[in-house]
């Protein structure tokens, strides 16, 4: 979009906020406690809703009985029979019922709903619903599942000759990762308000208002004008509020319609952890042929992911996973398979990274294994094989610009003192047996990651996301369905609009995210918000600027080409003409509303063939390297993180402080994945559903972090920006595994790297 000459000139760059870090727009409300999250809103006459669940991982429902001896007055009851439209949770496939009526496929499957004004009576009532289920044998192990939801294969070159070539070394490894819970601090929360037109208005904590907007039309058999979905201040999402809120909104809406009153459903933490989506567990097999000097020749990768009971987003998670499974490296020959299978556990879904943290852990851990078996420094192996401009990915995509695998790697290696620290770790390991052994061993490791920005493949082409802005009497209002779930979307969008219009940030407001008022900008996922939607808003703002320039040219009798707006003042030939607001007011009076909406177009040349799985899977990639230094206690097997350095290149940091916040926050989530976070299931039942027994990092678990940002603008992103949100989730876990290897000489192939696993590794022969 920048191949035309820029439409506005900014003589005064000090007014620009792009690349600076103005205060967050939502800061004052959030620091004073004034920000209203869903449960902070009062709805007159509102009832509370709760869910009756299966408790059996697989079976057939025989009966649902409401205890006749219990006093049901004032309690609204809903089962599948109350659903006016299609009993499905709309997403990719129509396989998941909103309320189970026949089969149950996981232990948390919703079967009936209750609502009551009194929370205590509601809890009591839950105990008086008796669901009888004839159990069937469940499949709980992903490797035993024969039901494949979706499979992919990517092929490049011919791997066979490479594996037959005796001059090459073949290195094999199997890696495993488990579930990870998003653990946003605000649990899922929705309120459904019934309307006189038999429609419903949904308020809630969510990432994707239009998912609900469309899903509920089918569920309730209502039309587009009978529903509005309004996102309220949202206490974190990380993917966990991408698709699941459709379930909650559907349930609340069914109750609200039957009750004729607003119904709020807020999950208890234990329920949220047990029932909602998580990161897909995976088993990853790597087989590679490499030259003795470490040059990669061929890889054969096989990934199996556990989708849980229903398809939900699994096909796209697996797709992103398989597309990143060969990492940020050149592989002349590759065969990469991925399949996602059904088990009788709650469906897995979106979580920051979306399949990539799994496959990149496999890939990067395997690079460590290659280096170990070849006796090479893993940094040298990465350097030798890292992608550069001109390289071709296994899908056939040629990388033409904004490729920074090597710069991020070198930045991290230098800043972390990798070479010296690795040498020291090797020195310690060489101490002769019998010499005084240190109780603690230090190690350093690093990883290299890439993350495709925007939807995979033809996703963005299908979506046709729209966003824009409308002129107001005091400036302009951004119209988009992209949600701010904490990342700072509101602030970044305002910066992009202000920049293009040439007005101060304070003149831009962002419309309430209401599906009956804003255009569908697609979901807030896939690291697409800044690049795709932000870019669209910037384009719409440029269009608005052109209209206003033309208007000013007319009203002030100057050539349109010479009008510009700087710092909120229209000027021509160095002479100030009028403030933006007064032009806006005059325009609105004379010509009526001015709304500029643009639609995102994939850059020319970005083509994807879904059938062959070839082409440009993503228009561009963001790059990151992570170095972790740690200490392993040889007596307690505890791991203490000492230092962490990341370098990230995501085109352009529109707001460097918010960008750092994304990197630091994502990195710490990834450290949780690496070291702490593990779910324990017994017979399809999740045992650790509390924050007390599913441990996420606390302030005491975070090492000092150095966050480097490199810039290498992408020609088609707004100001060169690509996507950032998910990138920091990808690299830290394998960097921790590499650092543990450097400290104790053992590669632990499973996550999390718990003291138990360290102990086993140290005591294995």
């Amino acid at each position: 979009m920048f191949d035309k000459p820029p439409t506005m000139k900014h003589a005064d760059n000090s007014k620009s906020t792009v690349g600076h870090s103005p205060p967050r727009k939502d800061g004052p409300d959030k620091v004073t406690g004034r920000a209203r999250y869903l449960d902070d809103l009062a709805f007159p006459g509102q009832l509370w809703g709760r869910t009756v669940r299966s408790q059996v991982p697989h079976g057939r429902i025989r009966s649902i009985e409401f205890d006749p001896r219990f006093d049901w007055s004032g309690i609204v009851r809903v089962t599948a029979a109350d659903i006016p439209g299609d009993n499905i949770v709309q997403l990719i496939e129509d396989d998941q019922p909103m309320l189970a009526h026949d089969m149950v496929k996981h232990r948390e499957e919703p079967i009936a709903l209750l609502a009551c004004a009194d929370r205590e009576r509601l809890e009591e009532a839950l105990l008086h619903v008796d669901v009888k289920i004839d159990p069937l044998p469940p499949v709980l192990d992903l490797l035993l599942s024969t039901h494949v939801f979706k499979s992919y294969r990517i092929e490049a070159g011919d791997i066979k000759p490479a594996f037959a070539d005796s001059s090459l070394r073949v290195v094999e490894g199997i890696y495993r990762v488990g579930h990870q819970e998003q653990m946003y601090i605000e649990p899922n929360a929705i309120c459904a308000v019934p309307r006189e037109d038999f429609g419903v208005t949904i308020y809630g904590s969510m990432q994707c208002p239009f998912y609900i907007h469309r899903g509920l039309q089918r569920l309730l058999k209502i039309n587009d004008s009978q529903i509005a979905v309004i996102q309220v201040v949202t206490g974190g999402g990380f993917g966990g509020k991408e698709d699941y809120p459709t379930v909650l909104a559907g349930h609340a809406a069914l109750l609200a319609r039957k009750a004729g009153k607003p119904v709020k459903m807020i999950y208890k933490r234990e329920e949220d952890v047990a029932a909602t989506t998580k990161r897909h567990p995976a088993v990853l097999r790597y087989r590679t042929a490499v030259k003795p000097d470490g040059e990669f020749v061929a890889c054969e990768i096989d990934v199996v992911m556990d989708g849980g009971a229903y398809v939900t987003l699994s096909p796209v998670v697996a797709s992103r996973g398989v597309l990143h499974a060969s990492g940020a490296y050149r592989w002349p020959h590759a065969r990469i398979d991925c399949r996602v299978v059904q088990t009788h556990t709650p469906p897995n879904g979106a979580f920051r990274g979306f399949g990539v943290p799994q496959t990149l852990f496999g890939c990067e851990a395997h690079v460590e294994k290659i280096a170990l078996e070849l006796g090479l420094d893993p940094l040298l192996v990465r350097r030798k094989n890292a992608l550069v401009v001109g390289d071709v990915m296994p899908t056939g995509q040629r990388l033409t610009e904004s490729v920074s695998a090597l710069p991020v790697l070198e930045a991290v290696a230098a800043r972390s003192g990798y070479a010296a620290k690795r040498e020291a770790a090797m020195e310690a390991a060489r101490l002769p047996a019998g010499s005084a052994r240190a109780r603690k061993r230090r190690g350093i490791g690093l990883s290299l990651a890439l993350h495709g920005a925007g939807f995979t493949g033809s996703g963005e082409a299908h979506l046709k996301s729209r966003a824009g802005l409308e002129l107001t009497a005091s400036g302009a209002r951004v119209l988009s369905a992209s949600t701010d779930i904490g990342q700072g979307t509101i602030t970044v969008f305002s910066q992009l609009a202000a920049e293009a219009l040439g007005v101060p940030l304070s003149m831009i407001e962002v419309a309430v995210n209401d599906t009956s008022r804003v255009p569908d900008s697609g979901p807030t996922v896939a690291s697409r918000t800044t690049m795709v939607v932000g870019g669209t808003i910037a384009r719409a703002a440029e269009a608005m600027a052109r209209v206003l320039q033309g208007y000013v040219a007319q009203t002030h009798a100057v050539p349109a080409g010479e009008v510009c707006c700087v710092g909120g003042i229209f000027a021509a030939r160095g002479r100030s003409l009028a403030p933006f607001e007064s032009i806006a007011r005059r325009y609105l009076d004379e010509r009526g509303p001015l709304v500029c909406i643009e639609q995102y177009e994939l850059p020319p040349g970005v083509q994807w063939d879904d059938a062959a799985y070839r082409g440009s899977a993503y228009p561009c990639y963001a790059w990151a390297a992570t170095a972790v230094e740690l200490e392993v206690d040889l007596d307690t097997y505890e791991i203490k993180l000492l230092d962490l350095v990341t370098a990230s290149e995501f085109g352009k940091a529109i707001h460097p402080v918010l960008a750092e916040g994304q990197i630091e926050g994502g990195t710490v989530q990834a450290l949780g994945y690496a070291l702490l976070e593990e779910h324990i299931y017994v017979d399809g039942r999740l045992l650790n559903t509390r924050m007390q027994n599913y441990i996420i990092p606390t302030a005491l678990d975070v090492p000092p972090m150095t966050t480097l940002i490199l810039e290498n603008p992408y020609s088609r992103g707004p100001h060169g920006a690509k996507g950032l949100g998910e990138l920091p989730m990808d690299g830290p876990a394998p960097a921790v595994a590499a650092a543990v290897l450097s400290a104790i000489g053992k590669l632990i192939p499973d996550l999390p790297i718990s003291p138990e696993r360290v102990m086993k590794a140290l005591h294995a022969a």
Binding site: F2, S16, V18, G19, S21, P23, R24, G27, D29, K30, V31, T32, G33, R36, Y37, D39, D40, A42, E120, M183, I185, E186, G235, K268, R269, V389, G390, T400, E401, A411, I485, G486, Q487, G605, G651, K652, P656, V657, E660, G661, E664, G665, V668, Q669, M691, Q692, T698, A699, L700, V702, T706, L708, I709, L710, E711, N712, P713, S715, R716, H719
Partner: protein, 191 residues
């Protein structure tokens, strides 16, 4: 169902009376009876710290110590003076902690912040110049899933006057070259 009892609460310098079941938690009383919704519920089990409020004996001075409102009975809080996030700012303006959290980008979704900021306030009240380990220790009961804590430490150090907010050197916002560019000198933004 249990009968209501009369509960008196002294919150942010104001006296309140409410009728509620005896098992009403302080968090529920604040949020649902007094409409002080700034205190958040993240777990209702004492695990996350989102419901942190400050309390002291009514006769004592200062702001008091952090407690978890979700595992405190409202009845048991009647002898205490309670400060919630709504009571942290003064007529003179935001508390330095609030200002610093806003200035340093120490908040993202904001759901943990009320509890986090009150824990931080209590720390600075008992220790004017805390070390990093003291800060980490004081916040260890307040979970944040968004920020990675680093900017929160910075905010507390700024509020304590130990440092300035780090703002990255601004970079110019020149636009990208056309897509056939092959070489671009990668720029590093210094932290």
């Amino acid at each position: 169902m249990s009968d209501s009892v009369l509960i008196r609460l002294f919150v942010n310098g104001e006296e309140h009376a409410l009728a509620a079941p005896p098992q009403r938690t302080l968090l529920e009383a604040l949020r649902y009876d007094l409409q002080l919704t700034g205190s958040k519920q993240g777990c209702d089990k004492g695990d996350c710290g989102a419901c942190t409020v400050l309390v002291r004996e009514r006769s004592a001075t200062g702001r008091g110590e952090p407690i978890l409102a979700c595992i405190t009975l409202a009845q048991d809080a009647q002898d205490l003076a309670i400060i919630t996030i709504e009571g942290l700012a003064t007529p003179a303006g935001l508390d330095p902690i609030q200002q610093a959290f806003a200035d340093c980008g120490a908040l993202q979704c904001g759901f943990c912040q009320p509890g986090m900021m009150l824990s931080a306030r209590a720390l600075l009240d008992r220790c004017e110049r805390p070390s990093l380990p003291q800060i980490q220790d004081a916040l260890s009961g307040n979970l944040c899933r968004c920020t990675g804590y680093t900017k929160i430490y910075e905010a507390i150090q700024v509020a304590a006057g130990l440092r300035e907010p780090s703002s990255r050197a601004p970079v110019s916002s020149e636009k990208a070259l056309p897509s056939d560019q092959v070489a671009y000198a990668v720029k590093e933004l210094l932290p």
